[in-house]
Symmetry: D3
Subunit: 277 residues, 6 copies
């Protein structure tokens, strides 16, 4: 699902960053002829994401490595569970280890956190969305991991979706004026989403023909009213200060989407370790 040439380029550049002109420790400590096997374990409960990226790092460094995955993206693995076995040249495995884990631990971390949000709102109609608050250069793996965790991807960037935010409205002069202008200038294949901050703006957005409405930092009370006002005409997205503690209440207001920046800007890495047997 991630474009291969993009992931290839990311791995190549991460390896260049870490290995540089050579892994001097491994080169000095080993003869280069050692072969063996490493096992990769989850050290906490995780939702697996990026096992292919993880494998690819070893293979880009050394085509002769044998990689045997013991899980698939989206699967939950308990603490202590075996994720993969890697065998072949030990020098190659040691050199690739850190870069491979840096990718994998972040991707599993994102999927695991996303799954927690998704589980939290089970039974409601709401879906968890990601945002553009991703690591610079790593958006494709961040968004992929959100999807694997059960989340829904919002637009990828500024070029493939229209989202009129408060700053646009401030700069352009009012919701209806901005929406009218935008309609005339964007491709006919795109929907238009508008950010609003109160119920009056919700009504203005509807009248102005918004296809989607983002409720920014509104109280649950007001969001319930917004749901009633909109009455199914367009989908609603809740946004702002969403946490695991408050997400269910938000979902229960009846909104269609809840976007969570923390999924990608403040996510703890999953704890995963690789051990030479």
């Amino acid at each position: 699902m991630i474009q291969k040439h993009i992931i290839h380029r990311l791995i190549q550049s991460a390896l260049e960053e870490d290995v540089g002109t050579g892994d001097i420790t491994t080169t000095a400590a080993l003869t280069g002829a050692e072969v063996g096997r490493a096992k990769v374990f989850a050290k906490s409960n995780i939702v697996v994401a990026g096992i292919d990226v993880f494998r690819e790092v070893f293979l880009i460094l050394d085509k002769s490595i044998q990689f045997s995955g013991h899980c698939e993206d989206g699967r939950t693995v308990k603490k202590g569970g075996l994720l993969a076995e890697i065998s072949g040249n030990l020098g190659s495995i040691l050199t690739a280890e850190r870069v491979a884990l840096n990718f994998f631990q972040r991707m599993c971390g994102i999927a695991t956190l996303t799954r927690q949000y998704v589980d939290e709102i089970k039974g409601t109609k709401a879906k968890i969305l990601d945002t553009r608050k991703t690591m610079p250069g790593l958006r494709c793996i961040d968004k992929y991991a959100v999807k694997i965790g059960g989340g829904t991807n919002h637009r990828y960037g500024l070029y493939d979706g229209v989202l009129i935010k408060d700053n646009h409205i401030a700069a352009a002069g009012g919701i209806s004026k901005t929406l009218a202008r935008v309609r005339g200038h964007i491709p006919h294949t795109l929907k238009v989403e508008v950010e609003v901050k109160n119920l009056q703006e919700v009504e203005e957005a509807i009248i102005s023909g918004a296809d989607l409405i983002m409720l920014d930092n509104m109280t649950n009370e007001d969001m319930k009213k917004a749901v009633a006002i909109v009455n199914g005409k367009v989908p609603l997205e809740a946004s702002g200060n969403v946490t695991l503690a408050n997400v269910r209440k938000i979902a229960e207001t009846g909104v269609d989407f809840i976007s969570v920046g923390a999924l990608t800007h403040s996510v703890p890495a999953s704890d995963i370790s690789l051990k030479i047997e």
Copy 2:
């Protein structure tokens, strides 16, 4: 301190990732002629890091932007504090906003977390070290932010420092054998660090001539003994499961360095917002 061409390349590629073939919302909503001013505020207490990177994003997108920073890297800013004012073409400011914040919020997040660790061990002789557990491709900004937060940088990558880890020892066959081999193969300008997991290995490392010793996941009790055994001959680095809750106890064992992976692999972004006036 970060090499300019590296940061320039990172920003360029983050802008390409986000803006792609164009910011369709801004292009459609604005005429292109609007000018104005935006203010950037801290929405929580932060240690500033990366103000230059933040500014550079706007300037790379549009050379005519005026950027006026109200803080310097390393400075603490309270919730609500003004970080910068940006004036000029509003379209440019809106298009650059998210990428600029993605860099800045991460860097401040790292510096802020590092500072908490550093403050926690004040009065001991220990220093907080970073690791290679950084975001793929973003190591230079991650390590810079650690330094700004008061931390000390460990080696940059596999090419500029020697660290013999448990997996190397497993693959090569014992500490003393590995150290002897390594000595003969590395540049004479580098010190050799060895990871050990108990007191017996500490003694073996000393005898084998290690320049630095990393104590991996040892109890505070054992680390105190290690300090006594080593008796100032070589510096000691504590590593493994370090948290804000336990870091002071670790520092009080008398070790010289404490390395903390979480500084860069599990750091929450600082909350910062940009508002058009």
Copy 3:
């Protein structure tokens, strides 16, 4: 409107392709010190597009060139009209000339042809659309020139619009099945367009919830019926074998859009010449 770094990269690479290790004729014929002025004329009636790209080629090669444009993108210039004056180092002007004209002549060619289509359907509600049948690597300038000529841009690539074509339907098994599948997998910010080849499929597409319908190679008679069937519920796009000769009849069927591949895959270059005075 074209992203600056993209156009910069295209020009740089076109210059490298043409100039390679050096313009041996100019270097040998001139001393390098000659300065003077060149005038650029339209040698047929044209709609100007890409005057900024044209200028940029000279400036990327030699910052000291003075470029004075005598027209703006979108303006019609008669045969013999003066388009620009360029003064400065004559060697630089001669070396950049061909690459600059190659870009400019294509862009004006596209805008000029687009304008002819647009003029042809004046008074109808239809809009002229471009396609993805652009020169490999030059899509941004091709689509920009269509817009300048008065055309409307369709999606930019496979990533920012959904268009279910006959081959997708063949591979996935029927219109309604395909549409249902697609709805569940795409971002909620995008509309879904479906290609149909007869009136029965038009009805199936409507029922299945298509947001846009492309009528592929249908007769004008059938397109009129499709317009009646759809009755304004979704926009219709006519496609296939559109020429200047038949475009007005197609527009008069009442469709909303007419897409024309020839605008970018079979366009004659505008005739433009540069003369040293």
Copy 4:
């Protein structure tokens, strides 16, 4: 004949331009497991050029695709003729289709047009030449297609051939002065071509030692006289406003070469279609 790394880079970049972060339609419409076969047909009479480039696009996207070509470059295929069969993953075939056709339709278009010019002057000694009026970045495929169509390639760029044009002569001050200067500065391995616009300049060029002479926009009458004056001492190239309608008359003046910019700057794409069976 085209350098592999150049064509590889062109295809890669065309795919990135079109596919971007992913073909959302194909990914959503198909499961990813569908396999099948597509046939590629000529929809008008064409001279085939670029079948290897066409195949390479599919293979670069997906190594497992089977491509079976039914023609070779240079062969004429009648309207309706089968050009190739492609089998394997249908998703891959659909994603690669447009980029593959964009290359192939242009290359066949150029070869087909070139062949028409070549056929038109059959029996004369003249050869059809291309120019530097090619698509920016695509010169290697444009020139290759001209050769396949039976044309002869002129110099590739400014670095591998000397052509003193009217603007050089204007800037340097006269034909003989320019030729003398040039002789002293260019590699001894290159011939020198001079552009002239009347018979007097033809004589001046001969006396000044030109190796080749380009007759710019001269009447057929004058070109005949030039042929007589030159009398086989150096080859002559006719240039300017050459069309299919007038090319035979030009060839019959006895010139050695006729250069035709339209072969690459104003060529209609060949009509080719790909259908999933």
Copy 5:
């Protein structure tokens, strides 16, 4: 004369190779605020080449550096002579020093050695040629330095000149057969050079219509005979084992060109030093 974007890219990549993630000595030793002046001296007699490249390294690293050159390319400077003064930030000067000198010392070395060859054959009609035996990636600076030293450039690469070598003749089957084949396939703007190893082959080459003949490792006696046989019809190039000791004798055989691989494959660097005052 060297294409700016090529030299810029070479310098950029040399700086990245040397400076990497930062000049740790300079950063640690200085505060970053020190300013001052450095002088650059010749420590042996040299022919200057590459002063612009030398300057550019400092400016690419730090735009604020003031560089004042005291010589021009082609000028001879005696041991002890001042070549340049550089003032500004001392940290920048120290960081750029080695890369700048690596380019400059090589270029001066080549020009100095070339000048010795040129001086050695003064009064004869022969010219000193370079070869393709240059440092991988540095051909443009190597060939430029040869020219500055008074040498003449042979073709730049395999794409801009035709040189049929013994291995081609062996593979294709004889001189006349090879020449006939080649004539039919190369652009009409290029001359054809043939390598021969005895007088019989000289005659065969003439008859077959070679434009230039390379005499490979022939005795001076035989080269004199070759000059007589050819009698001015085509230029002759002597090649193989040319040294400063034997070059004059070779020139006196009457050949037109003498190519010297050692100019670029075995050249000693000029001794140049930079001192902070």
Copy 6:
């Protein structure tokens, strides 16, 4: 030992430099179908270095080439010895030949010269070091060849070793002040080397805690005294004007390292030839 992606990139870029848009001689002289075998011989006594790089050039150009090496890096081969046999497409072999030899002749040249220095000081405890005086962009192959020749690599660049030179001391104000500053700012994993120019500075360096001392252009007499003063506390490196003629005397002073810039800045290429059978 050289990072594969670096060497791959160097070869790719050297091939692009030399072959450009195509090897016109080989393409014209051969049909493309010729197959055969070439032998590669040493034409002087050499120490082999870079046989893998040499092979890689042929394989990057044409995967189907069979390459059979008859020697390993580090082996001495006498004049006339067979180094390798290459069989397959003759066109590919001829096109790759020059680039392959340019790399191989330089690398063997460096290894051969290094071996001479190493042999010269046999029996002493000193080791021969390289410097940063390498060809821009080719440091990895230069340093690799030194190692193969029996030399020892100094730091790779400015980022992985600390060397305080005279210019740093001049800029920062004295040895002890500089050393104190540096200690506080560099990673704890690196040793600190200081350049000194007399015995007084040797003592100052020792007192200031230098880990390594470079003796710059000191007499053998003084170097002996320095050895006595230092008395094994830190290693000493002799530097400046080292030649094959004086290197043994220097080694006999008792220094630990002798650095030789000429190994990489003034090395003659080894004479190697490739002949089609």
